[in-house]
């Protein structure tokens, strides 16, 4: 009895500490110095995943089914390492939409459907009931083991419930949670105190488990080596840890892993700590490795403890109690007490978060919607409803724990701890399809989600829940063995004849198949309401930063109406805070100025935080005239943003284009100026070139006229100069006229089919004497066939002669060499003239086709003597002529000699029908 009192004192003392921590954290939060704003606290709060099931049950499952217990922790590890991006999306949505629970989340996704929220709530209660029962059972058994050792604990429910310890445990916990979690209604529905307390509990359970682990390995045995050696003496023991011991083989592995992965996110308490209570989404990233680390540490000693427990033999009692019986058998009562507190921490942590989450769901999604529908609440609008909400939650907490107790009484003994946990896992896993598909598939629809959920949970109930009642003896075992009414394919553990799988994988497989199948099928054939379309769009696009800021109200209400509504549900102080957050004006009930849509959205969010999205929507609809924005409106708002961006982008593009045009204009202007300057220069050049021979002619003419003592030889010489200069003048005038005709397009060309080859030969003949005079070596590389082109023969010959003359002039004066070649290149005849002179530098190659380029060159370079003279118009004219006949004339890299290489390309023409017709 004394021991009993000590244990009770410690247990209540522990609860008191929890209470104090929560109160302290709440006060800190009110002061704005949150203790839970840290990734470590966040990680520890997620560790509420490790319940009494982990604390006692892991050793039990390791003893019974080998390393399969690890899968329960591998699942969350995977979810955190690989799924944090998805969890972040949920966190962001929950933050923006003031989501309070998983039921709220799913309901909000499918158009704030009240029915769906209620359905999820009911399923959650059904699913969690066994799980809470498990915690109650764990507390009761551990208490019994601790106080009654070495006699076996009496775990059977007492027929008179007032004498049943488990009943009192449930009641005490209910009272504790009511005191702890429903002190006031918070618009944000965040539980700082709770999270802080849970984080503390995670430390306690980890320490306790590590303590017993270290005790077993290093106190009872001389380290892990010694323990393994002793265990090795029992081959059956070592074999029990083999991978093949996992029930259901490979499918069992996969099934359990999937089950744990999904449940980690869909368990109401996990959703609560992971998503709803998340303070800062950056914590998620650190938690993604810290949490798996926590799981690793807490599982470190599971197998050693299992070994030691089995080696203990009879005195070890049930494997689920090894952590307690090992210290007790060694007489370490204090350690056993610590272990008991650790187990209590694990159990209470789970029960606290789970019941708070469930009670919020019950009040928000089951009771409040019903109350709001009843008329009397509307009749008395000034009534303070926030007190009602709290009372509803308190009652819900009590009922949930009592339901857990009821399950414990009815089914409790049929399944072991781990088994009960997995039954719950399989039930909450039914939330996964509508939750996760809803995050990524916009077409997932409300009815699909609801029917999928119902279908999935019915299959779960048939394959796991009802067999539990069978095992407890409430239903005839014929159901499992032969199926209902002897229908074999309906047997709960072998649905559709699927046998050989472990019961959880079997159940998960069928329930998820039905669930997902119905969700997909029904979604494809139903339509969404406007609100649902909007929400679906917002949820699936949640990671876009602009989506969450979109105000979704376009209705009208006065500020006074909104204020009345808010203060009714949240109290005056909280309501005023909301108003001052939106704008600086303090609100009054009489204020009849229209509320801005941002205020309406904020008000709905605040109500959602307190009452859930469904009820908040109903309340808002009661004061706001006009509907929420429909999908088109939301999308158009989104589009406007996109359009603005697009517009900005186009604007930017246009200004770039403008800048470009400006540049082009500037360039054109420069070019025009250049052209103008060129024109001036051309005129000056022409003037200069005309005046120069004219000067000589006039001067000598006047000299001869005045006859001032010039000798007859001189006179003859002067006359010849006059003639030469006159010729030069005529030539020049002819060329200038040619150029003018070419440029104005008035050059008379007479194109005809001519033999380019013959024309080249004729041109060479015309120049032979001149070349010989200058001792220029001319090599001809002409083909043995006609080269038909369309051209004016006289003009083309003018070009060839001009090129040959230039080549002669520019060839190396010491041993002048010129090569003339003609060949076919694809569709063109190509004539090249190459010399062995100094050549034309690359940058000059186009300039040689500018008018008077040669003269400008001569003036600037200064080598007057060495450079041959020309008018500087030959090449520009040649090019003009060639281009007028659809050909090209350009300077290219020398091929055979070192100097310039000028190339004429003219398109090939077909041979004339009459081959005998002469050309050129």
């Amino acid at each position: 009895m004394n021991r009993e009192l000590t244990v009770l004192a410690f247990a209540f003392g522990y609860l008191a500490i929890l209470f104090l921590i929560a109160a302290w954290a709440n006060r800190r939060a009110e002061q704005g110095r949150s203790v839970i704003n840290s990734s470590l606290v966040y990680t520890l709060s997620i560790a509420v995943y490790c319940t009494a099931w982990t604390f006692y049950g892991s050793v039990g499952r390791a003893t019974d089914s080998g390393p399969s217990f690890l899968l329960i922790y591998l699942g969350p590890t995977l979810a955190m390492l690989l799924g944090w991006y998805m969890i972040r999306k949920m966190v962001r949505i929950a933050r923006a939409q003031r989501i309070t629970s998983i039921a709220d989340f799913i309901s909000a996704r499918y158009g704030k459907s009240g029915f769906l929220a209620a359905l999820v709530t009911l399923i959650a209660i059904l699913a969690i009931m066994p799980y809470i029962a498990l915690q109650l059972k764990a507390i009761t058994i551990s208490h019994a083991v601790l106080t009654g050792y070495p006699s076996l604990p009496d775990t059977g429910a007492n027929s008179l419930f007032t004498l049943d310890q488990t009943f009192w445990v449930a009641l005490v916990l209910a009272l504790f949670i009511i005191l702890f979690g429903t002190r006031h209604l918070d618009a944000s529905e965040r539980h700082e105190g709770m999270v802080a307390a849970i984080a503390f509990e995670s430390i306690v359970k980890l320490m306790a488990f590590l303590a017993v682990g270290l005790f077993v390995v290093f106190w009872l045995y001389q380290g892990p080596g010694d323990l393994l050696q002793q265990a090795a003496a029992h081959p059956s023991l070592i074999n029990s840890m083999g991978l093949d011991q996992v029930p259901g083989g490979v499918t069992g592995w996969v099934g359990t892993l999937l089950l744990a992965t999904l449940a980690f996110i869909t368990l109401p308490r996990q959703f609560q700590v992971l998503v709803v209570e998340n303070v800062d989404e950056r914590h998620l990233k650190r938690a993604s490795w810290m949490f798996p680390l926590y799981l690793l540490i807490i599982n470190l000693f599971v197998i050693p403890i299992a070994f030691a427990g089995v080696l203990l033999g009879e005195t070890g009692q049930s494997p689920d109690s090894f952590v307690l019986t090992l210290p007790l058998a060694a007489g370490q009562n204090t350690l056993a007490l610590l272990v008991f507190i650790g187990g209590l921490a694990a159990a209470t942590g789970m029960v606290i978060v789970e019941t708070i989450a469930l009670s919020t769901m019950v009040s928000n999604h089951l009771v409040m919607p019903l109350l709001l529908k009843s008329r009397w609440l509307h009749l008395d609008p000034l009534r303070d409803i926030s007190r009602w909400v709290l009372n509803i939650r308190r009652i819900a907490i009590l009922l949930i724990l009592l339901l857990g107790y009821a399950y414990h009484v009815l089914v409790g003994d049929a399944y072991s701890l781990v088994t009960i946990g997995l039954v719950s896992f399989a039930a909450v896993a039914q939330f996964a399809p509508s939750l996760l598909l809803g995050l990524y598939w916009r077409e997932a629809k409300r009815l699909g989600a609801a029917i999928g959920l119902i279908g999935g949970i019915l299959v779960w109930a048939w394959t796991l829940l009802i067999p539990g009642f069978v095992l407890s003896g409430w239903i005839d075992s014929q159901l499992i063995e032969k199926g209902p009414w002897g229908i074999e394919w309906l047997r709960p553990y072998a649905l559709m004849g699927l046998e050989g799988w472990d019961i959880y994988t079997h159940s998960l497989f069928w329930s998820l198949t039905v669930n997902v199948g119905l969700l997909l099928f029904v979604s494809l054939f139903t339509r969404q309401s406007q609100l649902e379309q909007t929400q679906a769009a917002i949820f699936t696009a949640a990671l876009r930063s602009d989506v969450m800021q979109t105000p979704v109200w376009q209705g009208q209400a006065t500020r006074g109406e909104i204020y009345q509504l808010l203060s009714r549900y949240l109290g005056a102080a909280a309501s005023q805070q909301i108003f001052t957050r939106v704008d600086a004006h303090p609100p009054t009930s009489e204020d009849i100025t229209p509320a801005p849509s941002r205020l309406i959205s904020q008000a709905e969010q605040a109500l959602t935080g307190a009452l859930g999205s469904t009820s908040a929507r109903v309340l808002m609809n009661s004061v706001v005239r006009g509907e929420a924005l429909d999908l088109e409106a939301v999308l158009s708002i989104l589009d406007t943003t996109t359009q603005t961006l697009e517009y900005n982008r186009r604007l930017e593009q246009k200004s770039t284009e403008l800048a470009q045009i400006g540049e082009e204009l500037k360039a054109a202007n420069t070019r025009l100026r250049e052209l103008d300057k060129l024109k001036d220069e051309f005129i000056a050049m022409v003037s200069h070139e005309l005046r120069t021979p004219l000067t000589s002619i006039r001067a000598f003419a006047e000299i001869l006229r005045d006859n001032q003592g010039a000798s007859p030889e001189q006179q003859a010489h002067f006359l010849s100069i006059i003639v030469k200069e006159s010729e030069r003048l005529s030539r020049l005038i002819e060329e200038i006229l040619d150029l003018a005709r070419l440029e104005s397009g008035r050059m008379q060309l007479n194109p005809q089919r001519i033999d380019f080859n013959q024309l080249a030969k004729d041109s060479v003949d015309a120049l032979t004497r001149l070349f010989e005079e200058h001792q220029v070596q001319l090599e001809q590389q002409l083909p043995n066939q006609e080269a038909w082109v369309m051209a004016d023969p006289d003009r083309l010959q003018q070009v060839i002669i001009n090129l040959l003359e230039n080549a002669r002039k520019f060839a190396d004066p010491k041993a002048p060499q010129v090569v003339l070649s003609l060949f076919q290149d694809k569709e063109s005849w190509v004539l090249t003239v190459e010399d062995n002179g100094a050549g034309i530098p690359t940058q000059e190659r186009e300039k040689v086709f500018e008018k008077f380029h040669q003269i400008q060159q001569r003036q600037t370079s200064g080598d007057n003597q060495s450079r041959p003279k020309g008018t500087g118009l030959g090449l520009p004219i040649s090019r003009g002529i060639i281009e007028h006949q659809k050909g090209q004339l350009q300077v290219e890299d020398p091929h055979q000699l070192s100097g310039a290489r000028l190339v004429v390309r003219l398109p090939c023409a077909t041979a004339p029908l009459d081959e005998t017709s002469p050309a050129g």
């Binding site: 005046r691 000067t695 000598f700 000299i703 100069i721 003036q859 200064g862």
Partner: protein
């Protein structure tokens, strides 16, 4: 004897000028470009210079500038010759210190007259040196 230097890059024009100046009774030397002209002037400073503007290498303007910046040739009478008929060139030449300006093609009589005139203006007493 009065020494006239004629500078032009056109051999025929140079020949005609040389003949004209000789006929007018001057001692004539010639240069076909600016550098040669400056060299000649350096060796044997003429009494008058007939200077074409468009020369290969150093232009007539540059020659003029060089001469006007040296003390010895600052007052050397210079007549510019040009085939460009533009007023700007004339103004530029005058601004740089040319004494006269003759546009090609020129009247031979007028040119000789201007040469004489300029020599009279600038060399009054010691004409017979």
């Amino acid at each position: 004897m009065t020494h006239v230097l004629v500078v032009d890059d056109e051999p025929n024009i140079l020949l005609s000028l040389e003949f004209l100046m000789q006929q007018a009774g001057f001692e004539v030397s010639t240069a076909a470009d600016g550098e040669t002209a400056l060299e000649r002037i350096n060796q044997n400073c003429p009494d008058l210079l007939l200077l074409d503007i468009s020369l290969p290498g150093i232009s007539g303007f540059e020659v003029l500038e060089t001469l006007r910046s040296a003390p010895r040739t600052r007052r050397l009478p210079i007549i510019m010759l040009t085939a460009h008929g533009r007023e700007v060139e004339k103004e530029k030449g005058m601004a740089l210190g040319a004494d006269d300006y003759v546009t090609k093609p020129f009247s031979t009589q007028q040119l000789v007259e201007r040469v004489r005139q300029l020599l009279d203006e600038t060399q009054p007493p010691t004409a017979d040196v």
